[in-house]
Point group: C2
Chain length 632, copies 2
């Protein structure tokens, strides 16, 4: 658990949360109507932060790797999500409280009650003396801990058995909930005027990308491997969302689908560029045991010794780690599939990195007949010898009539071994018996005038294969929340004892880069404010003017909360000699220089070419605003 | 109708459409499943074009005007859209064909059948001799034309009467459809595990902005006027969407809600900056009459003479016009509320510019009690004298018990005139009779120990008002489609007679700015390709390499279709002396210079600082690739 801030102070989540809402980084949606769990709006600074993260992500992945970005619809007809398996399987288990009708997520319920009991046990054993403290048998403690370690793996029936076995009761009502039932997490609607045209809001952006695979391959001039990418909203109807921005019902995702030949070990041509990148690789077991201080390992070594399955997966894990470092996100860990960030809520999966194999492309191709595959021209043609079962279609159809299709399918499904066994029988008896489900008594005779079975050799110039998909999938909202926690700290107020919040976002992602403050409301400052604001805009640097009547200190601390890294003060000396002071949010140190020098310093800081320490060395320090200097 | 291309050639929509799909600007969603009407995906070039338009829009409006951008959820509880009026009124009229069950939009149906009859009449009168040509009476022609001119204004009953009166039949089945019924255009779903929690997908981004008004005003430090803005998806369940990207069920909107004091003529502080901007202002009548060649008028004059209602509305119309000019979109017209673009489908509303008055803020405030209003400190306090009706709450409650609230509401609702009349009666009779709906017999007696009615004077230091909202609302997908039509033309192929498509996007919004083509697959070109690609990326200029085996000409024409404005050819001379040729998409002219000069030229073109004519003057022309020069 991250129990300290960036500067090692005790971390107090309610203070951070209240500041984030007050400064409108985010706000519960429809709050004046009482709000709706799991739905949040981003206000101006949250919106800008989100846009900057998306922009960085797009540069780091889409542009750097020439990915094919697509923008597909959220509305999705039911048939597609039926094929992908989401209609049948994308569900959580929920329980209803028979007393108050409350609906709770079964696994979370079991987890919470068992954790509360373990906490009570700890208190009863130790010095804590909570009212509910109740000592448990050592064997029970061990059993609870084992259940919690694999809580994600239970199905509904098993969760129901746990509730019964341990007599788990809803703390609100004191009664045991009803047995778990499956609840599909997709939002259902109908598309068009007919109530029969069922549809869902997509639970991931991936399906839209898969359905366009053939067109994307064509767009990429049939070259493999390649990746598509998509940034967009997805929707999951969580049963009882909590944990603020971490578990929401509508969220921005950035997903990459990298299509790779399943043969040849899933190599990646740029793997050598990242092979020395070091990662903290934790398997789930180590992580649950709380051992987070394990050693770093180079991704090259991890792929070589099999810890990470293949180069392509390893390449993306390293690239995710590199973006993480660029953004200075703290506390990172990845196992083969998840990249998790540490927060006050525990380790949170922010990036999933899954090998989806050929599953999705295969099921959609089977369902629609669309060729979601790659035809690779072989440099050396290969000859293939195999048993062929060839039907005489002219005679076959008339004989079997409506059963023809079923019989044909059964014959085509015969394995090489079966064909080898049947061939001599067909030539000896002049007929064979084939099992066909649902036709006559399940057995059909086929005579040799309708069917030839023989070994043949053919030469292939192309190879057809369904690509495998490596999918790095980013939850932008979760990354955003982690950035809040990891960049938050407090400092004592100048005069009082009230702690002031600071969000030390790196300049590259800060919502606003520069705060412009005039020393006072004096008319002579106005033209300079406007001038500097236009200058910064022409450099592509976002700025904000605060010319309210609050004190300079108050205006700065307001913008420290917004994470604005730099501040320019316009004072009477500025009016006289066009010099400005530049303030650093984190150290509150100031330097003073002429316009050109200040603008150059800002640009280098915002682009990440320099850090504040460089600027402090180069420019003269400034100690206080000369508020009483007259305008000459 | 736009019946010609940019270069005056006959405009052939099917050719453009097929090219746009082939190059994956857009594609019907779920096409391998047969597609779903009104849902489209953007492929890589469409996605990049969309991102560039959004980026320009954000710079032109949000950053330039310091608007407060928010990102609100699409999922919206039913109660909110009930309050806003969408649940009751956001509907179209639909008819069912009793024979084949087809569902058609009633107004479109009437329109299509009447237009077909008028077309038949024209052919019968003229030289055309279509099978269905049928001459109509002059009076009937006139009546049809009048109906078509106001087709948007009929309600369901009236549309039903038109269908009956003119015996309008579905061309597919030959039968008259059933009477129109209302069909709500919002997609319905449920939020959370209870089936009772109805919700909708938002039909506009506006409501989310309105609900956050109080917080946004606070964020803006209580300063008026200000604007919020939002870029995001909205959803409308169109009955039978046609017209490709112009009428879709899921679309990207960019909406501005500008909050302004309803008093003082809705002035705008920056109006003087735009007052000389000229617009073609057409009222709906002129437009329907087909008179599009009317004169331009300066917005300052239009506001002064009342053609445009107020400065704020005028300011946004001018700013919309300025962005339009920057993007070189052709054929623009605006009446007071719509900005329309001309396409082969006719004039299309791409930007709505509405004065929503105080409606939305008022209904949400009434429903929730939230203070969606501005408290303005008055420089000079004002004294207000009025009739006050004051209840003695201590005695009032116990007397009326459960009816108390209703009686109180009725008394508070008494007008100034009623109070003036009732005051002497109360003092004379010691009681008055008040009408209260639903309480006893509708009349309630209130005695003077419970109520005082008298004239009082009070001094107000603040003024409270609900702002009015001016809303410029942009349909990004429609603007995107107009850009396709307005930038499309064809040129004859070099060798053959097949026409080649060109999309002449301005460099600022083109999906990719530079195409990098090596003269051949020769190994010596590879390092230079990579080098130039990195150079361009470091300048923030997007590029794409085409090193396929197709001829240079073919590779260029492929990218002319993608709208790539510039091309760099890397040939053997480049390997020797680091000079490159730069090609202009529109003229196909080329210049040659060293790396630094070429990169500077590209940057100035992409930023809009120069046009190709400038570059041609500055740099030496290049006539053909020197393919056979050996590598030294």
């Amino acid at each position: 658990m991250a129990t300290t801030t960036l500067k090692g102070q005790p971390f107090d989540r309610p203070i951070l949360d209240s500041m984030l809402r007050r400064r409108m980084f985010y706000t519960p949606s429809f709050e004046i109507y009482g709000g709706t769990a799991g739905l949040y709006d981003y206000g101006p600074p949250g919106c800008a932060l989100q846009a900057n993260i998306v922009d960085l992500w797009r540069k780091h992945f889409v542009l750097e790797e020439d990915m094919l970005e697509v923008d597909c619809t959220s509305l999705t007809p039911a048939e597609i999500l039926k094929t992908s398996g989401h209609v049948d399987k994308f569900a959580d288990w929920m329980c209803k409280d028979p007393k108050n009708g409350e609906i709770i997520r079964a696994d979370h319920f079991v987890e919470e009650v068992l954790e509360a009991r373990l906490k009570g046990d700890k208190e009863a054993r130790g010095k804590g003396k909570a009212a509910e403290a109740l000592k448990l048998d050592d064997a029970v403690v061990k059993e609870y801990e084992e259940i919690l370690a694999k809580i994600d793996n239970y199905n509904g029936e098993e969760l129901g058995e746990l509730i019964k076995k341990f007599e788990l009761k809803n703390p609100t009502t004191g009664v045991e909930p009803l047995p778990p039932v499956a609840f599909n997490l997709m939002f259902q609607t109908t598309i068009g005027p007919s109530s029969k045209a069922l549809g869902y809001l997509r639970p991931e952006t991936a399906q839209g990308q898969f359905l366009n695979f053939a067109k994307l391959l064509e767009f990429n001039q049939q070259q493999m491997p390649f990746a598509s990418a998509s940034i967009g909203k997805s929707f999951r109807n969580e049963i009882s969302p909590r944990a603020g921005l971490l578990r929401v019902r509508e969220f921005l995702m950035a997903e990459i689908e990298h299509y790779v030949d399943p043969e040849g070990g899933k190599k990646h041509s740029r793997f050598h560029e990242v092979q020395d990148v070091e990662l903290v690789l934790l398997n789930r077991h180590t992580q649950l045991a709380g051992q987070t201080n394990v050693e770093k390992v180079a991704i090259g070594k991890a792929v070589a010794d099999g810890t990470v399955d293949n180069e392509t997966l390893g390449y993306f894990l390293a690239r995710i780690q590199l973006q993480h470092m660029a953004n200075e996100m703290a506390h990172y860990a990845a196992d083969c599939w998840d990249a998790e960030l540490q927060t006050s809520y525990g380790w949170i999966e922010c990036v999933g990195c899954a090998d989806r194999s050929a599953y999705d492309l295969t099921v959609h191709a089977q369902k629609t007949g669309a060729p979601l595959m790659v035809r690779q021209k072989l440099e050396t043609p290969i000859s293939i010898t195999e048993w062929v079962a060839e039907l005489n279609k002219k005679l076959f159809g008339p004989q079997f009539k409506k059963d023809g299709k079923a019989v044909q399918t059964a014959i085509e499904a015969l394995s090489q071994e079966q064909r080898e066994t049947l061939a001599p029988i067909l030539s000896r008896d002049g007929k064979i018996t084939v099992e066909v489900e649902g036709v006559s008594n399940g057995k059909v005779e086929v005579s040799k005038d309708l069917l030839v079975i023989e070994k043949r050799t053919r030469v292939e110039n192309t190879r057809e294969y369904t690509p495998n998909v490596i999918e790095p999938s980013f939850g932008i909202g979760r990354i955003l929340y982690c950035l809040f926690e990891h960049n938050y700290w407090t400092r004592a107020s100048d005069g009082g004892d009230e702690a002031r919040c600071v969000l030390s976002f790196p300049p590259t992602i800060a919502p606003t880069k520069v705060l412009l403050v005039p020393l006072s409301g004096h008319e002579s400052f106005k033209p300079l404010l406007k001038y500097m604001s236009l200058k910064l805009r022409s450099l592509g640097v976002s700025s904000r003017i605060d010319d309210s009547s609050a004190s300079i200190g108050k205006r700065y601390s307001r913008n420290d909360e917004l994470g604005t890294p730099l501040g320019i003060t316009i004072d009477f000396q500025s009016v006289n000699d066009k010099t400005y002071t530049l303030r650093d949010r984190d150290s509150t140190k100031q330097v003073r220089a002429d316009e050109e020098t200040i603008l150059a310093a800002i640009k280098s800081l915002v682009e990440g070419a320099k850090v504040w320490a460089d600027i402090e060395k180069e420019l003269p320090a400034f100690e206080g605003q000369e508020a009483d200097l007259p305008v000459r």
